[in-house]
């Protein structure tokens, strides 16, 4: 192949070539949809045509061998057409309703369960972790796998009050959009980074490094003769941004890295406006291979939510109705000073009224 002249800036292939005939024909002319069973959607067009989507879970890390399996299934059931979702599930696009059961059976047999639609827990948006990233406070795929093994029943059923979106990110860069999820798990560093004064001068630009600190904790300093930096411990909140711009400032710490849990974020505009996730568990220990403390904590949050929220009430909407004091009571989670914001807009998060439940 590589004989042919070098091509650049061609951009992605045009999507049209990937659309199945039923979509080409009814493009933009869909009338409504139904969700007959978990993981199955049917979209009905003005023309009366029907498109069946069967959604299956993936670990997101996919071996090309598995991709070929999906391709084979697509050929067998969907005239070769499939897609992936914004939450990393795979969707098979059928026109023949009668083939759905067989497809689902094959998928389950291959270990890719069908579900994630409607008021369920869909796949966890997540990140690289120890598999590929340098700033990970914990692994991503392992935590996600451990969680979804436990939350599995909520993926293959649709019994929750509303959609429950879970996200995971392995460091404060938050590549998984944990900042706006119903439940978010965030890897956190909790110690001031160690500075490698020997390599720093070679590896990093001081101005960029100093500018990288959100709290201005980094000061220039001369360490055994060489230009380096000093970190004001009391100003450091371990975000790791210095490490992002300078590998000689080591943020990873086997003993003190851990996980934190956040709830009540939301992206859609449905009913209530989009909002950020809020801290509910500041720190949990980093315990591979199964992170039992984290799994328990998330499971507990899901259960309390499921037991108390009203129909069509997202996690955030439920908490706002009952109020945060009640949330901490119901979940039994301790409220600490760590929960109280102390960054730039902290004052905006204080309760500035006497409207309280006593």
């Amino acid at each position: 192949m590589s004989a042919s002249p070098r091509k650049t800036d061609i951009g992605p292939p045009h999507y049209e070539q990937f659309l199945p005939p039923v979509i080409k024909k009814n493009y933009g002319k869909w009338l409504y949809h139904e969700n007959p069973r978990p993981g199955v959607l049917v979209h009905v067009a003005e023309s009366g045509d029907k498109l069946y989507s069967v959604r299956a879970a993936t670990p997101r890390i996919l071996n090309v061998k598995s991709i070929r399996l999906f391709a084979d299934l697509a050929d067998k059931y969907c005239g070769g057409h499939l897609r992936f979702t914004s939450r990393n599930n795979v969707e098979f696009l059928l026109t023949d309703e009668s083939k759905i059961d067989a497809l689902i059976q094959e998928l389950h047999a291959l270990g890719y369960p069908v579900g994630g639609t409607g008021n369920a827990i869909s796949a966890i948006v997540h990140t690289q972790g120890w598999v590929h990233c340098h700033s990970a406070a914990t692994d991503a795929s392992g935590v996600v796998k451990s969680l979804m093994d436990e939350l599995y029943p909520h993926f293959v059923n649709m019994h929750l009050p509303a959609k429950l979106r879970i996200a995971f990110a392995c460091c404060l860069n938050m590549c998984g959009a944990v900042h706006c999820s119903d439940i978010a798990i965030l890897g956190v560093h909790t110690r001031v980074p160690d500075v490698d004064h020997v390599n720093l001068p070679k590896m990093c630009e001081l101005p960029t490094l100093i500018a990288s600190c959100p709290t201005g904790a980094i000061r220039p300093a001369t360490v055994n003769g060489a230009q380096s930096i000093h970190i004001e411990e009391h100003l450091c909140m371990y975000c790791g941004n210095c490490f992002t711009v300078c590998p000689a400032v080591k943020i990873n710490n086997a003993k003190t890295d851990g996980l934190s849990i956040w709830v009540g974020g939301k992206v859609s505009n449905a009913r209530t406006e989009p909002k950020f996730s809020k801290l509910v568990i500041p720190f949990l220990p980093n315990t591979p291979p199964r992170w039992p403390e984290t799994v328990e904590a998330v499971k507990h949050l899901v259960e309390v939510y499921a037991a108390n929220a009203r129909k069509y009430e997202r996690m955030s909407e439920w908490v706002e109705r009952i109020g945060w004091p009640r949330f901490f009571k119901l979940t039994g989670l301790p409220f600490t000073k760590y929960h109280i914001d102390d960054f730039t807009h902290a004052g905006e998060t204080y309760k500035r009224s006497a409207q309280l439940k006593h």
Partner: protein, 397 residues
């Protein structure tokens, strides 16, 4: 070392349980030295609670500044086959639609020249080809372009735009998200491949306010479909929903409407569309009975991002309503104006959302020549620290 299979007792624990296992995915290529070392280093991380990757020099393909993330093991002696383990970001097709054929071609290339491990997909939307060596980057790139694929973004460039399935598979799409994401991606190929911005710039296209690509939280520019006129209603279908007993129209619909602009008398549903804020709830609950209006377009919001460094932001209203018709000239003019201003005055690693807050939304709008409208704010200023400047009294005079 990479000859004999490595023991991975901790990772093996993650092959148990009903959810598909990434470990199993890795082991599907257990025969390759690369995966042996990857499993080995990962098992080591699980033992030590510590990652073993470092970033080193920038790597990439000729003429591009983005699209490849350089990765190096910090234990190269023990795991020589992943000493270099770079990621290639491949720009996904709009809406993540594929044919089996296209997927097989990608699989073949990646199996031959890379680890054979992917992410479908990365959280910006790219196809992530996880792990190869520097010398393979060019050959892979040319083979990818030969099958019609190109790299995505990384670094301080426009990042790979993404879109929800939109009109291809959704009855609520208020504009053609696939046409839009394709057009903007093609228009800005240079900005996508050659980092020249203060920081990254992400575009996400959602066909309606449900925002299925999380654009309001994860895009410097969020295109969220919406409509201007009345919600389309099929009154019989409303009654059938009521009859079905599956939903209580008063409780589940009317009382959950954020503006309380609906009323249900047991037989007729009335919507005061002038008060409707297009939240989608009622439509979501009764898709057979209600649909977005006919005068469709989108709301453009700007500036969302993760916490680094000033704190996370959600996008804020930039253009309350605009029709989404190719070639999207007005929008492109706005984007160019923003990139010029931010490009010139933005600090290194300052996202556009942070830039706007630093210079002030009012000044920002003035600079790019957009009129301020109250839709852009939740409420007017509460503090009296108003920078009037000289204009004020010139105006008076």
């Amino acid at each position: 070392m990479s000859e004999k299979k490595r023991e991975t007792p901790l990772l093996d624990e993650l092959e148990k349980g009903p959810w598909p296992s990434f470990v199993t995915e890795l082991k599907k290529s257990a025969e390759t030295p690369v995966i042996q070392d990857l499993l080995g280093q990962l098992e080591r991380s699980y033992e030590e609670h510590l990652g073993h990757w470092k970033h080193g020099g920038i790597v990439g393909v000729m003429g591009y500044g983005g699209g490849v993330i350089g990765r190096y093991s910090d234990l190269p002696e023990e795991f020589p086959n992943i000493a270099h383990f770079h990621t290639m970001r491949v720009n996904q097709p709009a809406g993540w639609f594929y044919t089996s054929d296209a997927l097989r071609k990608i699989a073949d290339i990646w199996e031959a020249r890379g680890s054979g491990i992917t992410n479908m997909h990365g959280s910006t939307g790219d196809i992530i080809l996880l792990g190869t060596t520097t010398d393979q980057l060019e050959p892979i790139f040319s083979e990818l372009t030969n099958i019609g694929f190109d790299l995505g973004g990384s670094g301080s460039d426009m990042r790979t735009p993404s879109a929800c399935c939109g009109p291809a598979r959704c009855e609520w799409a208020c504009y053609d998200t696939l046409a839009a994401v394709y057009d903007f991606t093609q228009t800005y190929q240079d900005e996508l491949h050659r980092p020249a911005f203060p920081y990254k710039y992400k575009l996400k296209f959602a066909g309606c306010p449900n925002d299925c690509v999380a654009s309001v939280a994860r895009a410097d520019m969020s295109f969220i479909g919406t409509w201007k006129d009345e919600i389309q209603m099929d009154a019989d279908q409303v009654r059938q929903y009521a009859a079905s007993g599956r939903i209580d129209i008063q409780k589940d619909v009317c009382e959950r409407c954020p503006t309380q602009c609906m009323s249900w008398d047991g037989n007729n549903l009335a919507i005061d569309n002038g008060e409707c804020v297009k939240c989608m709830h009622c439509i979501n609950v009764m898709p057979k009975a209600l649909r977005p209006g006919k005068e469709r377009g989108c709301t453009i919001l700007i500036g969302s991002k993760a916490p680094i460094m000033g704190g996370a932001l959600l996008s804020s209203v930039f253009v309350p309503f605009i029709e989404m018709e190719p070639p999207y000239e007005d929008i492109k003019e706005l984007i160019n104006a923003i990139w010029d201003l931010w490009g010139e005055h933005g600090k290194n690693r300052e996202r556009v959302g942070e830039f706007i807050q630093r210079v002030g939304l009012g000044n920002f709008l003035e600079q790019i020549g957009l009129e301020p409208v109250p839709e852009m704010i939740a409420y007017p200023r509460t503090n009296p620290y108003i920078f009037f400047g000289e204009e004020l009294h010139e105006k008076q005079a």
